[in-house]
Structures are given as structure tokens and as C-alpha cells.
Amino acid sequence: MRTLKYHQAISEGTVQAMERDPNVFCAGIAVDYPSGIFGTTTEALKRFGPARVFDTPAMENAFTGICIGAAAMGKRPIMVHPRNDFMLLAFDQLINLAAKWRYMYGGNAGSVPIVVRAVIGKGWGQGATHSQSLQAPLAHFPGLTVLMPATPRDAKGLLLSACRHDHPTIILEHRALYNVEGEVPEEPEETPIGKAAILRPGRDLTIVATSLMVQEALDAAEELARHDVDAEVVDLRSIRPLDEETVLASVKKTGRVIVADTSWERCGVTSEIAALCAEKAFHDLKAPVRRLALADCPAPVSQTLEQAFYPKASTIARLALHVIGIDPELVGDIDREDTFKGPY
């Protein structure tokens, strides 16, 4: 199969979604720039013009409401936030309205299938307000769908699914994945919403991961293989709805779980998966579940602090060896060089 980068896959998904449904449009700060949200909207603008791909003022709250109102009239808006942190301004519209719409009106007002694409930042001193990762607070609320593609294939496939999905959907893309390359089918193949993927089968230990941490987990798994530990990597993909079955089946098989997420631990995705295991896989567990998340402080800027703040492949691998009972210090220097040259 032909390969694409993550950002190219998003671009292709956008174009195909817009092609097959004239109601899809794409809007938000900077979507019509030549840089096109890191290349993800440029092609759509070229193909469909400024009527369907347009820039907006800085008005996160109202524009989210505007997307809801357009969706109520049959549109399929894709709203884009260059950083998901800006979305906090729109939590009222997202949580108090979009999430409730279908239910709160007893189905009689239809649904408001907006798609919100929002980018997670990381590193290069982007700091505390440009590198958060909002999946957990969002997924707390019934009525929202929260997706985190970790591969180019899913970046395209989940976007395509979201554009046909009946619920307001937030897709959190990771800036550090934009240049990751992978196989992507040319046709508009949808990734099912609510299905996790086993990206690497294994027998000794399950690593449940999200977004960028999936790539780190895959690297960790390779290292683990060198230590004769056969790790299974579960890419969660969908935070809500959550694919409990796939996670539980994997834990049943391996009996050991590490959960790695791009955000903090407290009331986060790592806790959710750990809780799931504690509740529904208790008798399968051979060892305590272990959570791996951001250090419990805001993101710092300085490189030395950033290094300490972010967990990475080696952190996962070390924790895995520890869980298995092997000396964690055996983990080699497996972390990829960060070639990001800033600024965003």
C-alpha cells in the first residue's frame, strides 16, 4: 500500500469527506493559509474554494456555537483549532450544548454532528498553554465522541468516520505525529469509531496507549522484544466511546497492563483504563496496573525540564521491564531524536 504522512492523510481525508458530502465545510483560524494547518487544509481549499474552507476571527466560543447551528440545519462543519488548548474557551458550547443536544431535546431536535479537529502541541518550549491534551475532560461527558488517531491511516479514517457520525466529535491530532509516515489506502476507508486497534500482538504484557504514546509504545515494544518480553500494543483510538472489550481481551491474555497517555494522570485516560481493569479484569491481572502520564505540573519551557516532563519510549520500556520483573536499567537508548525545529 502507498504511504502517506499523518498530515497528508488528514488532508486526503478532508478532501474525500468534502467530495462525498457537499455539506462538509472546514473553518477556523488559519485554515486558508498557504501553510494550511501544517498542510492539512491546503488541498481542500484548492479543490473547494473559500466558500467551503475559510478563516475565522478569534472567537472560539461563538464559532463553536455557529458550527452547532449550521449542523442543526444539515451542515457538517469541521472546525479546526491550531491548538486544542484554545478549545477551553468553547467548553460551554461543546459540553453544555453540543453534547446534550440530541438527548436533551428527546431526539426531536435532531443531532448536531460537528467535527472539531484540535492539535495537541508538544515540546520546543511551547509551554503550559500550548501543549495540553484535553481528551479526558472531554470524554467525561456523555454525548461527545472523542478520537485520537495515532497513525496516518486512522488520521484519515477517523476523520472520514467523524464526518458521517451522528454525534459531535472531537478529534485530537498530535503535532508530533504530523510527519509520521504509514500506509494509507487511497479509497475513503473509514476507521470504525469506538474500536481500539491491536497494533502489535504480544503475550507478556499489554501497553494501552493513545496518540503519540502509541508510537512511543511501539518503539518500547521493539526494545522489550530484545529482552524477550513480548508486548501487545493497544491503540485506543477512541476515548469515548471506549472499546472496553479489546482492552479486556488483551489483559485477559497478558495479565499485565501499562497505560500511557499524552495528558496527566488525575482523572485522565490512564486512570480510566486502570479502573476498567480493576473493575472488569481483576481476576486476570497478575500485577498492578501502571499508569504513565505527564509529570503532574504544567508544561515547562526549558529543555532540561521538558525532558523530565514527558514520558517516552524508554520510560515505557523501563516500566514494562519493572512490571515483568526485569532490571529496568537494561533499557537502551531507544528514544528518537527530536528533530522538531519549532516554532509550533
Binding site: 465545510f25 466558500a51 467551503r52 475565522t56 476571527p57 472567537m59 466560543n61 461563538a62 464559532f63 463553536t64 456555537g65 455557529i66 458550527c67 452547532i68 447551528g69 449550521a70 449542523a71 442543526a72 440545519m73 444539515g74 451542515k75 462543519p77 460551554d92 458550547q93 453544555n96 450544548l97 443536544w101 440530541r102 438527548y103 436533551m104 431535546y105 428527546g106 431526539g107 426531536n108 431536535a109 435532531g110 456523555p142 454525548g143
Partner: protein, 352 residues
């Protein structure tokens, strides 16, 4: 397609024999079909009797949903709703019964919603503040200040993108002018000349807070709208014909592609902010009895009735007869709603 009033084909029987559809009268310098004034009046009567019926029954503690009655503010809803078409999109806020009813929303389904029954407008999931009646163009009301201002703007965007001449309207209280979302919305609507009409019901209070707490002295909300390039007009919100005419101007502007409008309707809520009592009966003193009496004197139905009589379109007896007829229907709807089935606990997850 013409607006709601002009669409109407049948006259209520009780209107007697005069041929009111043919006749034209002049109000505020504008020629109108006489039937328009009659329809506006009956629309207000329907609202009034529904709200007053709720006020009467609410203390029985069977409508368990916080309810903000619109008594005293009927002219805004009736006047604006009459100026739009059934395929336009109307939105409302927490004080939404008036708008729902003015659009033609079923009294029975409103009552059933208040009683928490499956036949409710939102099937018992939404309550008083979350009504919907899409068939009549009443998309939704919502209880969080300012939300539907943005949402209506978005519906207008959809109409604009589709190249159709539909119009979006949103009703809100003046407190929404304290929330930033309205300015973000107006700015966007003006930039894109969206067909949206912002209808502010300025009833001088937000819960128990007077304007002085919430606006600098001398504030003109219309001037704010205009500073965002949204043409604005302030009208007597208790004069249903004045509201209707202002709304028609705004609708014409929107439909012709000339963009958004803001209408500030000065009016007054008679009952307490939430619940069925009169503030003075409840011992509340945040507004004076004199002020209240003054506004009751300016009752929109009373003013409208006086106009009908003075124009020779109806007499007191006829007007009372309509009221009686409407009241009977309303009461019957509430009785029926009270006997309607409850949602099943097992259906908790339906419509998610």
C-alpha cells in the same frame, strides 16, 4: 413563501362575519391587512392563557422543572414570529414558552414536557427551558445565557452557504448582552452579512438585578450592535404591531442578503424570575409595586385590544369570546398532558 400570517388561509369562526382579510388598516404609518392585527392578538392570547394556566397549576408541584414565565412579554414573541416563515429557524433562551407558542408550538406538548411525560416537546428529557418544535421552525431553546445567539448565527451561515433565503432569529434577554459570545457572534454575522436577527427582550432585570448593576449609565444596546455594523432598532416591546413591523423590516433585510439586524424590545416580566408567583406576593422588593403597576397598565394584550376596538376590528365581547375559547383549549391540553404516560425508566438511554 410568505410569512406566517400571510400564509394563513382560514379565519377563526369567532371572528364573525366582517371580511377582515380584505380590509387594510394603518398602524404606525404602515398599511397592514386587518387580519394581521387579529392574528397577532390571538397569538398573544394563546401565550397569555398558557402561561397563566401554568402559573395556576405549578404550585401543585406536579410540574417539576424550573419554569420562567413570559407573562407580560407576549408582544415580542407574537410580533416577531408572525414576521417569519415556517421554514425559518427560531431560537430562544430560558424564558422560551412565548416563542415556542408564537411559532405555533403545541400547548399539549408544552404541558406534557412540564409534567415530564413522553409526549413532551422534548419527551420529558428537556423540561421547561429545553423546548423544540422543528416542524414550526422553533429549533430549540436553551438555558445557558448566550448559547443560542451563536447557534442562530450558525444556522444563518448554513442558509447563506446554501444560497436559500431562509432567516434565523434568536430571542434572548438583555443579560445576554453581558456575555461575550453575543459580540463574537454579531461581529461574524456582520462580516459575512448573515441573515440573522437578534431579538433582545429588555425587561430591565436579570433575575433580581436591575440594569444599573449590569450596564453603565446611558447604555444603548442598539449603539453597541451598530458599532459591530449590525443595524439596530429599539421598539416598544409591548406594542405587538410595532414589534411586528420592526421584525418585518429586519426579515426583509436578511432575506434580501443585506445581513443581520438587532431589535431591542422594551418590555417587562410580570411574574417572578423563575416560578409562578408575583414578586410582591413573595415579599420581594427588588422592583417597586409602582413600576410593576405601570407596566401592567401597559399590558400588551390590553393595548392590542384597545387598538382592535378603536380600529373597529373587534369589540370587547368578541375579544373575550376568543379568550374564553383559547382558555378552554389550553386547560383541556393541560388536563390531557397530566394524564399522559411517563417515560419508562428503561428508556433512560434513548435519544443519546
Amino acid at each position: 413563501m410568505s410569512n406566517r400570517l400571510e400564509q394563513k388561509t382560514e379565519m377563526p369562526e369567532s371572528w364573525g362575519t366582517r371580511d377582515l382579510r380584505e380590509r387594510r388598516v394603518t398602524v404606525h404609518g404602515q398599511a397592514l391587512a386587518a387580519s394581521v392585527l387579529l392574528d397577532l392578538h390571538r397569538s398573544m392570547q394563546r401565550i397569555r392563557h398558557t402561561e397563566e394556566t401554568i402559573a395556576r397549576l405549578y404550585p401543585q408541584q406536579e410540574m417539576r422543572t424550573p419554569t420562567h414565565l413570559g407573562t407580560g412579554q407576549e408582544a415580542v414573541a407574537a410580533g416577531v414570529a408572525a414576521a417569519v416563515r415556517r421554514d425559518d429557524a427560531l431560537y430562544s433562551h430560558h424564558r422560551c414558552h412565548n416563542h415556542y407558542l408564537a411559532c405555533g408550538g403545541s400547548v399539549y406538548r408544552l404541558a406534557a414536557e412540564l409534567y415530564g411525560r413522553v409526549d413532551g416537546a422534548a419527551r420529558g428529557r428537556g423540561g421547561s427551558v429545553h423546548l423544540t418544535d422543528r416542524d414550526n421552525g422553533f429549533i430549540v431553546s436553551s438555558a445557558i445565557l448566550g448559547q443560542t445567539v451563536a447557534v442562530a448565527t450558525g444556522s444563518a451561515l448554513a442558509f447563506r452557504m446554501d444560497g436559500v433565503d431562509r432567516v434565523a432569529v434568536t430571542f434572548f434577554g438583555e443579560a445576554t448582552c453581558e456575555e461575550g459570545v453575543i459580540y463574537e457572534s454579531m461581529n461574524f454575522a456582520a462580516i459575512n452579512r448573515l441573515p440573522v436577527i437578534y431579538v433582545c427582550e429588555n425587561n430591565l432585570y436579570s433575575t433580581e438585578s436591575p440594569l444599573s448593576v449590569r450596564q453603565p449609565p446611558g447604555t444603548e444596546l442598539c449603539a453597541r450592535a451598530e458599532s459591530f455594523s449590525v443595524p439596530a432598532e429599539k421598539v416598544d416591546g409591548n406594542d405587538v404591531a410595532a414589534v411586528y413591523l420592526a421584525a418585518r423590516r429586519a426579515v426583509d433585510r436578511a432575506r434580501s442578503g443585506a445581513g443581520p439586524s438587532f431589535i431591542e424590545c422594551m418590555t417587562y416580566r410580570w411574574r417572578e424570575h423563575v416560578g409562578p408567583q408575583f414578586d410582591h406576593d413573595a415579599g420581594r422588593t427588588y422592583r417597586t409595586k409602582e413600576e410593576f403597576d405601570l407596566w401592567v397598565e401597559r399590558c400588551p394584550l390590553k393595548q392590542s385590544a384597545a387598538r382592535l376596538i378603536s380600529l373597529g376590528l373587534a369589540d370587547e365581547r368578541e375579544i373575550s369570546a376568543w379568550a374564553a375559547e383559547i382558555e378552554k383549549e389550553v386547560v383541556a391540553d393541560f388536563e390531557r398532558a397530566r394524564r399522559a404516560p411517563w417515560p419508562e425508566a428503561g428508556d433512560l438511554f434513548d435519544y443519546l
